[in-house]
Symmetry: C3
Subunit: 160 residues, 3 copies
């Protein structure tokens, strides 16, 4: 891969992640499963567990139907005023040696503003993603959100 | 627009936003109006109001003279030690179908450090911008900072 | 420098900073000195001191051996559970008029999660960097982390 191709891929991956977080943060939750390949998985998992090899995800979906069901559940359960989330990403690392599948990590920060108007750090962590090229463009084959913050609410978790 | 042109535009818009926040954060407030087209508007507005269609901005300028006046007021009112602000942006979404005017949204986070040396989240929100190409380069035709955080000081607000 | 070359340089510098923070945040501390040119310096310094011209850095290295020693000290002193840090960067400003040396500033935010699982702002500040092109790629000739936050622990500081 030439240097110019490498930079173009970097931009394309940044655009994918930007579109992903914009969909989540702007209450277009129904778009969320569409960022994934047909054969996919998604999980939110605490960092200590990945280190110890004891995965106990607070959210796990291993296909798009599960993801769509989760969206419906979240919409139905939304009896409170919607909360505001904002994602911030940095520190992209890309490994794309073979061209088939791209491995991508990035720091993420989710800032939440509650109904009293207070903004605070909701979650900080690392995206560990595998990305594939499909006829519709780049899609996540897998996305793991490995969070540092252990004070995460587990009651019907919202995707990050 | 080809994929390569699209990525170049993305980079150019990121460079515009980076220059904008660098001017604000590095106390070059006088440059702030120069990021805007001659015919422009700027506002800082709470999210709840945009949803309800009841705009009550905490800051509103509909031309560059108003923006320059605001800068002078802020400089004159600055009887306290200068406070430190740092902006962080993520989640760019670009719509540039027609080529005339570019629509751009991005998450923003402003971290403030007060005189006691404590850093905290000052404001989290969404930039909703329209950008035009001028002889001097890309300029904001409008910039709306739609904030989630409702605990925002309104006494002679500083631009974000 | 053409507009296209300018954007490619911007991407290359973003990739450098991304790789730098990814090494720090993913506990690959031994890579840290390798981001620097042979003739280099690194410091972490409070903002008030740079303004007054009274530098009193909380960390200072003026060659790579000092940086490698610091890494060894940090590894040896690490009697506690490792803490989690995540960097976020924004607001890049690039000055590369002469081509020899690139001047680069960027906002940085470091979020720390302590052993109780609470995430908070550890440090907000400005990177003021000089970057040179070496046979191995872009390297920092100098990096100054000028922090706003004054509540920074000084006991064997970790690089930011």
């Amino acid at each position: 891969m030439s240097k110019s191709e490498e930079f173009m891929l970097r931009l394309e991956l940044m655009a994918l992640q930007d579109a992903y977080v914009a969909a989540l943060d702007n209450d277009r939750l129904e778009e969320w499963p569409e960022f994934f390949a047909d054969d996919c998985f998604y999980e939110i998992i605490p960092k200590e567990n990945t280190s110890l090899g004891l995965p106990a995800p607070i959210m796990y979906c291993d296909n798009k139907s599960m993801m769509r069901d989760r969206v419906i559940s979240l919409r139905n359960a939304n009896i409170y005023s919607p909360q505001a989330y904002k994602h911030f990403l940095s520190g992209y690392e890309i490994r794309a040696d073979k061209g088939e599948e791209i491995q991508l990590t990035a720091n993420y920060l989710v800032v939440n503003t509650n109904q009293d108007g207070n903004s605070f750090i909701f979650q900080a962590g690392l995206y560990e993603d595998r990305v594939v090229r499909t006829p519709s463009g780049l899609r996540f084959k897998s996305k793991r959100a490995i969070f540092d913050t252990s004070k995460v609410l587990t009651l019907l978790a919202y995707p990050v």
